[in-house]
Symmetry: C2
Subunit: 427 residues, 2 copies
């Protein structure tokens, strides 16, 4: 058998990952590899147990075709989402289905100790079935803030400055760690799984503890020269504003429209005592606005106006087809989105403003965990060591594989609290 | 001889265009085509006269290698630049060297009649040598404003709304017409010829009659979903400003910092009578500021502040390595650029702001004509009809070809007026 080159493995595994089930001919068409290369590679992957035959397809024109799929339970990822107002950790299979979930509260405004991240990862790894432990291929983390070219993270919202997170975690678990900024990993997830599938020019805006944007242009994710593109939250939107941002500047979008800052402005207006943990009450402010509370309406109106202004900048500069909003704003769609849309129409050139579709994400609360798993898979394919691991004979006992329908979550220790549900719209 | 496929022609002609002179091995390395494909294609192109042998390269390791070049005088382009405060037309050879130049004044604020564009093109075509006329491959035009997917141009500064410029001109000359928005064609020219060569993430900002940006990210030109990305001039930079923009909105960057609006503000402050044609006096305002005129300093300071704010948005969103400024601002570098740089440092995140190099273009006044010729060449390669023309035996008599050094301009009817020279910096 001729030598199989790594690129054939990558191309074929990517097609299997995207399509879930596919025939040999489908792989040949999608990869544009020649028939012999595909046959040799598939034969090897089948022998290894990396892929499975799961059925056959027959047409009126005759010959049956085998339907192939990735053996999704052959490998697992431990993933973390550090962006939200709770810390979330999960064990996922190769294709990002969650097998175990762990959530814990964390008070916004405090420094996040790396030890807590390590403990969260340890929790999901230890709570998996024992045979899963040896099958963990990599750790994937979606984090706020920015990562420089050396992999150091600066995230004011977590109190991190030039932190070598990957190195610290890798040292503890001896498993490769892949990091991605949350707003960018989200746009990747939307692109693979959600509303932005097949949309070449789109932007994914997170409005939560921070504000950032992941931008796909012509099908390419914008990284920037130093890998820190997408800092929508630090656009100065009001030169005269007093609102001080965590970055040290004044008048940043984030200082006006992020969840903690919406709460701050509401408490300033109402003289509230801040008894609830900082950052946990933005859904309450949304609810107050629905009930007609004047202070809540003024604060949210201001946030929406500047969000709309910033989105009009995106629209004028990129002319995107779609802007997807995610994060806490999903639960405030009814009170924020109409005003945001108005402002985009007001400030962007009509041709661009009329053609851009602005909506909230429908991928739900798990998007960042799925995004981290998806990025871990993509990165694993690019790593020669991990690629060799994926494409080697599987030595452990494999559980039975189901291939139809979404997989159920094996264990979900923490029930979703009520604030994670979409609130009923105002009546 | 086997069939030569169009893509081989395109790949090989692009390498010859970029490198000017190249060996057969250089072409094989750059195109990654196989040796036989390259040999067959080159043999055909040499027979046709599309490419020429112009020398040989010998190394100590032996075998001589032929040096090949495009036959630059085999084909010509008629090009136009409608962005500036004068209308400029030229006849260029295949590689964009200007062979004949025509400039005429045009008063900013008036509607530009298409007949004037047609006459300008006719002038450069008729003033070429007779044998050049039959060799004109295409017409290329850099225009202000935006073009929609149907090729219709809306340019408030020219008084155009949904104008089918290409169709009107093509009908008259029966020569294919290729259009590009000026700020985008500039970034392409900077990418091929200027400061942005080999820079993957850069932005080219034009500040002239209008303000726009062409953005290269990861080596790709950002087009946008409807092809109208880059509207930097219509970012609302001051929500409270009274300055009315040509687009109908208030507080656009263009309404504050474009050349005609700098002049307008200066005249408003000084009670000037506007005796000079609108838009022609921005260089005088620069000069007044150098001499310490308070009104000029205030107006330019305001323009620079908002230009800096807009550039900080670009920096936060794209994290570019380089921002090149072109247009009238080239002549006001000393009075505008330091303040612009300060504002970017003030408003953009430090990591992105410190790493971005902001400077004026060194490609000079001909950049848009060269850009139009470059885009016409790229588009001609993509057109099957024009590609066939380029790769067919040349039937007309060819002039002698010089290959070393820049080519001299054969005829330059209109001397550059003094305002196109870089003004001496303030002493």
């Amino acid at each position: 058998m001729p030598k199989i080159c790594d690129q054939w493995y990558r191309d074929i595994l990517r097609v299997l990952y995207q399509r879930r089930t596919v025939t040999r001919r489908g792989i040949i068409e999608a990869t544009r590899l020649n028939v012999a290369s595909v046959s040799h590679t598939l034969q090897h992957l089948l022998q290894c147990g990396t892929i499975l035959k799961v059925g056959e397809l027959q047409t009126s024109r005759g010959r049956k075709r085998e339907v192939l799929t990735l053996n999704a339970e052959a490998w697992y990822f431990a993933v973390a989402d550090l962006e939200g107002s709770r810390l979330r950790f999960a064990l996922t299979n190769l294709i990002g289905d969650i097998r175990f979930l762990w959530e814990e509260d964390w008070e916004f405004g405090n420094k996040l100790n790396v030890e807590r991240v390590i403990n969260g990862i340890k929790t999901v790894i230890q709570n998996g079935r024992p045979e899963q432990y040896s099958q963990i291929l990599a750790i994937g983390i979606s984090h706020p803030g920015i990562m420089d070219k050396n992999g150091c993270i600066t995230a004011v919202n977590l109190g991190w400055s030039d932190l070598s997170l990957a190195a610290e975690i890798e040292e503890r678990f001896n498993i490769p760690v892949f990091l991605e900024e949350a707003h960018r990993s989200c746009v990747v997830a939307e692109h693979w799984l959600g509303a932005a599938k097949d949309v070449a020019d789109c932007a994914y805006v997170i409005v939560g503890n921070g504000i950032g944007v992941g931008i796909f242009l012509g099908g390419h994710l914008v990284q920037g020269h130093d890998g820190i593109a997408g800092e929508l939250g630090h656009l100065t939107v009001d030169l005269n504003a007093d609102d001080k941002c965590n970055c040290g500047k004044r008048g940043c979008l984030e200082a006006i429209a992020s969840s903690p800052n919406i709460v701050r402005q509401y408490l300033e207006k109402t003289g509230g005592d801040g008894e609830h943990p900082y950052g946990h009450r933005v859904l309450e402010v949304y609810e107050k606005a629905r009930q007609g509370d004047a202070a809540a309406i003024v604060v949210l109106d201001r946030a929406a106006r500047y969000l709309g202004l910033a989105l009009s900048h995106l629209t004028n500069l990129f002319n995107p087809q779609l802007i997807v909003l995610g994060g806490d704003i999903i639960y405030g769609e009814d009170v924020l989105l109409p005003r945001i849309r108005d402002e985009v129409l007001r400030h962007a050139l009509p041709k661009a403003a009329e053609n851009v579709d602005i909506r909230v994400s429908n991928l739900g609360a798990d998007i960042l965990l799925k995004a981290a798993a998806s990025l871990a898979f993509q990165n694993a394919l690019e790593s020669p060591t991990l690629l060799r691991k994926i494409c080697s004979p599987i030595s452990f006992e494999l559980p039975a594989v189901k291939i139809s329908g979404p997989r159920s979550v094996a264990a979900q220790k923490v029930p979703r609290s009520s604030r994670l549900r979409t609130p009923a719209s105002a009546s």
